[in-house]
């Protein structure tokens, strides 16, 4: 299941779900995105696990990742900022 992350005020990408945030598809896997990277619209940014379902969160716009605001494995709530970004 894919979901689109909202772009709040063109400054940060916020979580569309309550759940657990993961930067990679598996514990040892490479992160979906790194700081400094420019991602394309539709590209997976992270996973939010909710009720045992892994929800891939995709970029809604082309953006540059400035900062990852949550550590992998941490819980996040609805609307919590996940990435600080700027338009690419």
């Amino acid at each position: 299941m894919a979901a689109l992350a909202a772009l709040a005020g063109a400054k940060s990408i916020t979580s569309p779900f309550v759940g657990t945030f993961y930067r990679a598809a598996s514990p040892d896997g490479p992160p979906f995105v790194e700081v400094g990277q420019t991602v394309r619209k539709g590209q997976t940014l992270c996973i939010i696990e909710a009720m045992k379902l892994m929800n891939e969160i995709e970029a809604e716009l082309d953006v540059k990742i400035l900062e990852v605001l949550v550590k992998s494995g941490e819980p996040v709530e609805f609307g919590q900022a996940l990435f600080r970004v700027e338009g690419a």
Binding site: F17, V18, G19, T20, M51, P75, V76, E77, F78
Partner: protein, 349 residues
């Protein structure tokens, strides 16, 4: 039904406002930790501030937040909550939510899901009461055709009332005073029931004019024990919403109270009811009481009963959900004093 201890230490409160604060207080008094959930509209609300932890579960509309079952279950998962109290309203009478909590390893603070489903369906609840020997108003089962309707109305007589099986709060109800108005009222009630509850099923009952509305508060544990905490008189209503809740009722004497309370206990024991619930009765002018429906949850007006019984009902709910036995037998419960609660309505005249 499961018996024995299912202890928990952190309660997620799937509600907001006054009832969330009430549950928070009971949890704190029992040494239980609390998780509040809130929509983006309620980030500054008191229940968010007073809880040990708080999780934003969605945007302002209730259907996306307080009624958003996956978000609420996820909030329990990420906070390590092991029990859920639904309060009243929102998901409090949603049997699927109760069942899902149990499947996810969360203790649901309320009756078990199958009982909630049984008593939430007015026709099945009525059948269960008849089996338990509780008087019900002469009435029908689900009426799907005009023929069935006419036959049932002929048996019951006029005036009669048409009610939605899934209804409540007066919606989907039509009073019919003579045969000429029967079919039109029936088809309107079905349309209203479909629109209001997603289920067009209706049934008919004898209509009592000038009835008293008296409800009995019950509390059961998971070991088959049920007690009643006396009655609440709620005859004064406006648009089928209670305006004044009073305990004790001015029309019940001690013998009548014992008889009606005993009936409620017998009914709950027969179906194996646990946790808090209310049986609503209609009392006609001769003093005969008929079972109407059961609310399988805590009610707004539970505090009226708490004041006269000295029982903390939310604490009791938490205790029996954890598998504890009821702390009192019927003969230990004494009602003292008099309590009245009023609803204040703001209306555009």
């Amino acid at each position: 039904m499961t018996a024995g201890s299912r202890s928990f230490s952190k309660v997620l409160i799937a509600n907001r406002g006054e009832i969330a604060l009430r549950i928070l207080r009971a949890c704190r008094e029992l040494g239980l930790r609390t998780v509040a959930v809130y929509s983006q509209a309620d980030a500054e609300a008191l229940h968010v501030r007073f809880a040990d932890q708080a999780v934003c579960i969605g945007p302002p509309p209730a259907r996306d937040s307080y009624l958003n079952i996956p978000a609420i279950i996820s909030a329990a998962e990420i906070t390590g909550a092991d029990a859920v109290h639904p309060g009243y309203g929102f998901l409090a009478e949603n049997a699927e939510f109760a069942a899902l909590c149990e499947r996810c390893g969360l203790v649901f603070i309320g009756p078990s899901a199958p009982l909630m489903a049984l008593m939430g369906d007015k026709v099945r609840a009525r059948e269960a009461m008849v089996r338990a020997g509780v008087p019900v108003l002469p009435g029908s089962g689900v009426l799907a055709t005009e023929d069935e309707l006419r036959r049932a109305a002929g048996d019951i007589g006029y005036p009669l009332i048409i009610k939605a099986c899934a209804g409540g709060g007066g919606r989907g109800m039509k009073i019919v005073r003579d045969e000429g108005a029967l079919v039109t009222a029936w088809s309107m009630a079905r349309t209203e029931a479909q629109a209001g509850f997603g289920n067009p099923d209706v049934y008919v009952e004898r209509f009592i004019s000038a009835p008293r509305h008296i409800e009995i508060q019950v509390m059961g544990d998971r070991h088959g024990q049920v007690v009643h905490l006396g009655e609440r008189e709620c005859s004064i209503q406006r648009r089928h919403q209670k305006l004044v809740e009073e305990a004790p009722s001015a029309v019940l004497d001690a013998a009548a109270r014992e008889q009606l309370g005993g009936l409620a206990v017998r009914a709950c024991t027969a179906v194996g009811y646990d946790n808090a619930g209310t049986l609503e009765f209609l009392r006609d002018e001769s003093g005969q009481c008929y079972f109407m429906e059961m609310n399988t949850r805590l009610q707004v007006e539970h505090t009226v009963t708490e004041l006269v019984s000295g029982v903390d009902m939310v604490q009791a709910q938490l205790a029996v959900a954890a598998g504890e036995r009821l702390a009192w037998r019927q003969e230990q419960l004494q009602l003292r004093g008099h309590a009245i609660e009023c609803r204040i309505n703001a209306e555009d005249p």
